[in-house]
Structures are given as C-alpha cells and as structure tokens.
C-alpha cells in the first residue's frame, strides 16, 4: 500500500467529514428541499444565461468520437455530437438523428433521417453525410475498438435520396443499432472529416465546442441552430477533469462546479452537508472475471462454489458503502436484460455449500487460484475482501497486484481470474458476449459453454425487440446458473449538485445526456 493510500485516503475522509459538517449552512439547498435533480422546471424558472460546470473524474485525451471510446467519457461528446440513434436513460433505443430504422433483410439496415437538421458549421445533415461519416470510421487506422470493430462489420453504405441510408452488413448483426447509438453513430460535419478532430469538434449537437484542453477541461456554448431547441436550457457547459474525488467535492462546495460525479464513500457526508445527491443503478458491476480455460474453473461446480463462498451483501456495505445491489448476473435487477429467474438469493453466502460443491468436483482438499488485481484502492479492497471470504470454503486466492497497464496478463491467459469492475455496454448482449462468448475481449481463450454460445449466436441474428430481449434474459439466466463469470454487485452512478440543476436523469448505461438539463434562477 502506498504512502498516499495509507495516509491521504483516511485523511481525506476526516477532512471531508469535517469540512462538509462545517459547511452545512452553505449555499446548497438541504437534501430534498430542492427536489430531485431529474425534476423539470417551468421555462420562467430557468436561468438560460447560466453555464453548468461539471466535475468529471475522467480525463479525455481527445474529443474525436472514433478515438475516444472508453464508455464513460462519451458523456461529454454527447454535448457536441448527436447520434443516429439515441438511448433512453433506462437503456432503450430511441430516435435521434434517425427517426426510423428497419432491417429490409438480416444484412440490410435502412435508416430514415431527420430532415431539416444542420451541422454546427451550417452544412446540411443528410444521407451523404452519414455515408461519409461511416466511411471515415471504416478507413481510420487509429480508430478505437468500439468504433473500428463495428465499422468493420459494415460491407457497404448507400445514400438513397437525402433522407435514407442503407447499410449493408457482412453478416447478420442486429447489435449494429447499439453501435449507431454510441460513438459510431456520432455525426461529424463532412467539412471537418478530413482534419484532426482531437481538439476540434463540429457536430449536430446541442452545444458548440469553444475550447478543449486534453485532460484539463472542455468549454461549450449553446448552439442556437439545434434541431430540438427546447432541449437546450443553458448558455454554456464546462467540463472540468478532476480525478481526485475529494477535490471534486471541495470544488462543488466552494461553488466552482455545479455538478459532480462522486464516490460511494462520500454520499453520506455529502447529504449531511446539504449537497444534493442523486443515484441510479448502472450496468457496471464489480466482477470476478474467470478464465474458464484454466484448471478447476472449467468445472461448473467449482465456479458455483466460488459464488456461494462470497458474501455479496457485506461487499455492498463495505466496498459500495451501501450503494449497490448484490447480483449474480452482469446487470442490476431494474435492467431489461435481467432475468428474474436468477436473483442474487440463488447464491447465498454459504461456505458449507461451497465446500460440498468443491468436494463433488474433486477439490475436497481445497482449490487455489491466481487472481489479478489492478493497483487501485477499491480494486485492492475488493481483492483482499474476497480473499478472506473464500478462505473458510477451502479456496485460496493468490492475489497479483499490477499497474492498470498490465491488465493484459489476464487476457493473455497468465492468471485464473481478474477481480475488477465491468464498465458496462449499451447492448446487453455485448456485455454477455464480451465476458463469456466466443471471441469475447475479456474472455481469455474464448472459454464458454456450448449451450451459452448457441444462445449468443441466436441473439446475434435476432432483430432487436421483445424476442431478442427475451433471449438475452435467457442468456443472462444461463450465465448466472453456470457462473461463467462471478458478478459481485451492480454499481450505481452517483451525482452531487448544488441543488440548482434540473432535468438531469443519470443514465443506466453510463453515457449520460444533458437534453433538457438546466439551472434554476437565483439559486446557488
């Protein structure tokens, strides 16, 4: 444990408690009095000249949608770039720049585009622009995997008139819709496509980029030509990168930021001091990622034994400070892909049952596994807690703590498991496949089970809709039953604000949007 972790973290907690208590009567409204952060306000109650300053723990290096694809930082790309398809706060696909989509056949997707939309440089948004954008994503040598992989599945694009685009896929792949609802679908003005977009951005979104400083801040101002003018309630938006959690709270309390992401450990102190806190379940989960091609982990009973050997409730209380939900699926119970047939209670904390299963699998003398952990405070806490928990069941975890850049030790098959955080994907099938499907990027050696893979193959060729959702739920149930990975608990995204923000709903899939988000008049 580093000096900073040993000394700074406890100190930060002490100082946080003291400072928040001391500032209880400060500018923020007491919790609850300001109403929920998601509440809307009458137009006359909003300060349309206000700038919302958001403290983000993530430090974006580039604002190019094709490169900036690590999930969470796309939050600020949504300000400047509208996407072909949108995602609702609960994860459903909704119209954005495309008003309608349909598969003419399993490999041909037809998008009907919103008419009358312009890019921020005045260029018209039309089918030709969509084709140029997708072409860039396909041809770009340094595009990130979240863009390059789905772009590579596109065989051809064709503009049909100005308002219709036909995308031909190399093989049936209905998850392309979710890709178009993320970075791949972010539309850039054709006039900007040939230049560098690392620090410049011209989209068709609500706000125009004024200045982007990598890893420091991004400043946006309202774009008056936005197609959905009613969604723009602010004069400007500033995103400040503040990696340190305590510094974010300090900035919020001293009025330097309006809203911030905060850590689970800060919630009670923040609420006690009158800072308004809003939280929402996310598709992110602390997980024991397994290499199912190694030793005992090939055996379903051994994996189930591991699941019985962990006390999920206690981990929610300690690691999540009570903010989270025990789960044996990769999703929270409020998500559409969650199978109600496999609640967390199916694997209660039961060391005796774990021992029994291990003995049945031929590990009566106990089992030993190597587990990789990233050298980050919460990751190490998780590893140490799990190590202690599984011991009474006769399971030994040998922890290997490495710097984040050495994560590939897991995907390269050097260890049995990786204990860490799953960031979530917009497409629930993508989550399941990435973790336990053939070729899944976090599934070393493509370890899977035939019945699970059959389900995943079926999902891939099933159009989005109720039938697909049902199949995903089935796959999630099978995942839970066979414990292809061992989810521990689903995380929540937690926001704090000065009590003045209205119209904001945290997104379940991470990439929050700021449509209709405003700041109340004479507040803060």
């Amino acid at each position: 444990m580093s000096l900073r972790e040993r000394v700074v973290a406890p100190m930060a907690v002490v100082v946080a408690a003291a400072s928040l208590a001391a500032c209880g009567g400060g500018g923020a409204d007491p919790a609850g009095e300001a109403g929920p952060i998601s509440a809307s306000a009458a137009p006359g109650d909003l300060d349309t000249s206000a700038t919302l300053t958001f403290a983000d723990p993530f430090q974006n290096d580039t604002i190019d949608p094709a490169k900036n694809d690590s999930g969470f930082p796309t939050r600020q790309l949504n300000l400047v770039y509208d996407r072909l398809i949108g995602i609702s706060p609960s994860g459903e696909l909704v119209p954005q720049l495309a008003t309608k989509w349909e598969f003419a056949n399993p490999t041909t997707l037809r998008l009907t585009l919103r008419s009358g939309v312009k890019f921020q440089d005045g260029a018209p948004f039309d089918a030709a622009a969509v084709v140029k954008n997708l072409d860039r994503s396909r041809e770009m040598p340094d595009a990130g995997p979240a863009v390059s992989a789905p772009a590579a599945s596109i065989k051809d694009m064709k503009a049909s008139g100005t308002d219709v685009v036909e995308i031909t896929l190399k093989k049936p792949r209905y998850s392309i819709l979710y890709d178009l609802a993320q970075n791949l679908g972010m539309m850039i003005s054709p006039g900007s496509l040939s230049g560098s977009l690392d620090r410049a951005a011209v989209g068709a979104g609500m706000y125009k980029l004024v200045e982007f400083k990598p890893g420091v801040s991004a400043t946006y101002k309202r774009w008056d030509g936005y197609w959905d003018a009613g969604a723009v309630k602010l004069a400007g938006f500033v995103v400040k990168s503040i990696p340190d959690a305590q510094t974010r709270i300090n900035a919020l309390q001293s009025g330097q930021v309006t809203m911030s992401l905060i850590d689970e450990s800060q919630v009670d102190d923040a609420k006690g001091a009158g800072v308004r806190v809003s939280e929402k379940a996310t598709v992110s989960a602390w997980t024991m990622f397994l290499n199912m091609t190694r030793g005992g982990l090939k055996n379903e009973q051994v994996r189930q034994a591991l699941s019985y050997a962990i006390d999920r409730k206690s981990l929610v209380e300690t690691l999540g400070h009570g903010h989270g939900e025990p789960t044996v699926q990769m999703f929270p119970s409020t998500y559409e892909a969650y199978s109600k047939d496999w609640p967390a209670t199916k694997y209660p904390f039961d060391a005796a049952k774990a021992k029994e299963l291990l003995a049945g699998a031929g590990y009566g003398n106990g089992a030993k596994f190597s587990a990789l952990i990233l050298n980050r405070p919460l990751d190490k806490q998780l590893g140490q807690a799990l190590q202690r928990m599984v011991k009474p069941a006769g399971i030994t975890l040998e922890l290997k703590v490495v710097e984040p850049a050495r994560y590939s030790m897991f995907t390269d098959g050097e260890v049995d498991m990786f204990l860490g955080r799953w960031g979530g994907r917009a497409d629930p099938a993508d989550t399941l496949n990435s973790n336990a499907g053939k070729g899944g990027f976090i599934n070393p050696g493509s370890g899977t089970t035939p019945e699970f893979q059959t389900l995943m193959d079926k999902i891939e060729t099933t159009p989005t809709g109720d039938a697909r959702t049902k199949l995903v739920q089935e796959a999630s149930a099978l995942f839970a039953q066979q414990q292809l990975d061992i989810p521990v608990f689903a995380r929540r995204s937690i926001f704090a604000d000065n009590g003045c923000v209205v119209g904001f709903t945290p997104y379940m899939v991470g990439a929050d949007e700021y449509r209709g988000v405003g700041v109340r008049k004479n507040c803060g």
């Binding site: 995997p145 690392d198 620090r199 801040s217 503040i242 990696p243 340190d244 330097q256 850049a405």
Partner: protein
Amino acid sequence: MLRLLARRLLMSVPILVIVTFVVFFLLEIAPGDPARLAAGGQAASAADVAEARHRLGLDEPLWTRYWHFIEGLFTGDLGQSIFSGQPVLSAIAERAPVSLSLMAGALIVAMLIALPAGIIAATRPGGIADRVVMLISAGGVAMPNFLIGLLLVLVFALNLQIFPATGYVPFEQSPARWFQSLVLPSVALGVAAAAEIARFLRASMLDVLDQDYIRTARAKGIGVRGVVGKHAMKNAFAPVLTVLGLQVRILLGGTVVIEQIFNLPGLGSLTVKAVFDRDYPIIQGVAISAALVVVVANILVDVAYGYLNPKLRAA
C-alpha cells in the same frame, strides 16, 4: 564570473545526456504495453495492437528510437502524445506556466517565512522566539504538504471562502484571480521549504555571528540591524543557497501532489496521467524538462554562490 558560468554550463551537458539515457531506457524496461493502450486497451485485438505499435514506431530497434529521441531534443520535436496526439512540447508549454508559477509562489512563501524566522531565531538563541521558531519549523518539516493543503482548503476555501478550493486562472486572463488561485497551493507547497530554510539559516547565522569580524563590528558600535544585514547575512546566506537549490528539486516533486489536491493543470498532473497511461513521449518530455529546471536552478545557485563568495569564482 563568466568563466564560472561557462564551466557550470559545460558540466551540465553530460548530466543531461545521462538523464536522457536513463529516462529512455528505464521506460523501456517498465512493465505495460503502450501500444495496447493506444489501440484501445482491453478490447483491442492483436492486429490493432500490432498496427498501433507500427504507427507509434515502437517496432523499430531500441537504439534507432533512442537516436530519434536525441535528434528530436535538438530540433525541438519531442514527439506526440500517444493518446491525445498533441505535440509533447506544446503539452509541456501549456502546463509549465502553472507548475512554474506554483514553484515560484512556493519559493516566495518559503523565503518570506524563512528569512525573518531564521534571523530572529539566530539573534536570540535559546530565547522564546528561537524556541517557537524551532518548534514551528520542526512541525513544518514533519507535516506532509498534502495535509497542509487539505487543511488550508478546509479553512480558507470552504469555511472562510477567501480563496478558491480548486483550479487555476491564467495570468493573462486575470492577474488578480491568478494570484488568488495560487495562494493556497503555494503556501501548502512552500511551508516545508520555509521550515527547512529557516533551520539552515539559523544554524548558518549562528556560526557567522560567532566570528571575530562580527565581534569587531559589534565592538565598533554597529547596531544589530547593521551587523546582521550588512555583515552577517552575506556569509550566512551562502550555505542557505545550497538548500535553496535542493528545494527546487523537492518543490518540483511536490507539485505532483499539490496539483492533484488543488486540481491545477500543471506538469505534475500531466505526469501522473502519462505514467498511468504509459504515454512514453509525454513522460520523457516532462522528465527532460524537469531535469533541465533542476540543472538551471543549480547553475543559478552556483553563480549566486560565486557572487557571494569570490573565492569560489576561481575554483
């Protein structure tokens, strides 16, 4: 004096060459693959990683890359950040004013505290003032700067709301707000240096005040101010200069933590992120720049030493 300066400049050349060598090769043996990170991290395929390795020139032989690196130093081309694509020199130029302002502020704070404290303690050895100065300076040396920073935020930013808790305002944007944004970080960073310098100044001053020429000056009826200011200070300050030179290195390291606490976009925060990302060009550029700052500071100290002690100019 010019010969002294020329000699010191010449001596700094091999130091900088060694620094480039160490920086480059230490990063080579550091664990982690920047090509994988540049290709998108966990989700990158083997082909993506290979493409990124080629694009970044990481598949070239080690010595070839080292040679390019040295060439770049002379042409001002330190490469580009693997992740942001920003030229390293431009990234450093954007961030350096923050760190240099912070360091300068910390040195000013240190000198404003240390000079009077050290002199008062030395002129009244064993007295109450001396003991108080020694006690406080012991606390200043012992207290980590992040703790001082957090306490300053608590009192002056959150409670009294005199200074901002976080952030940096460029001088050209508003000199007053630039000053305001630097006060707390500079104090947090400068307190330990002040304590260290005050203790050295006190010890050095005590030595000097015990010299015959000081007794003579006193015997001639020169007052305390004259004795200390005119006769003792020049000689007592020479050893302090050495400490001051060392403090530059310590302050440079301290900016890493202070910039995190106050969210200042300086070289420290740039370095932390670059280290976690394995952004080699940025790490190399910052390390060379830091070495340059320390070497220049040492040259200035040597020249000042020569000014205060003429015997050293010929050495």
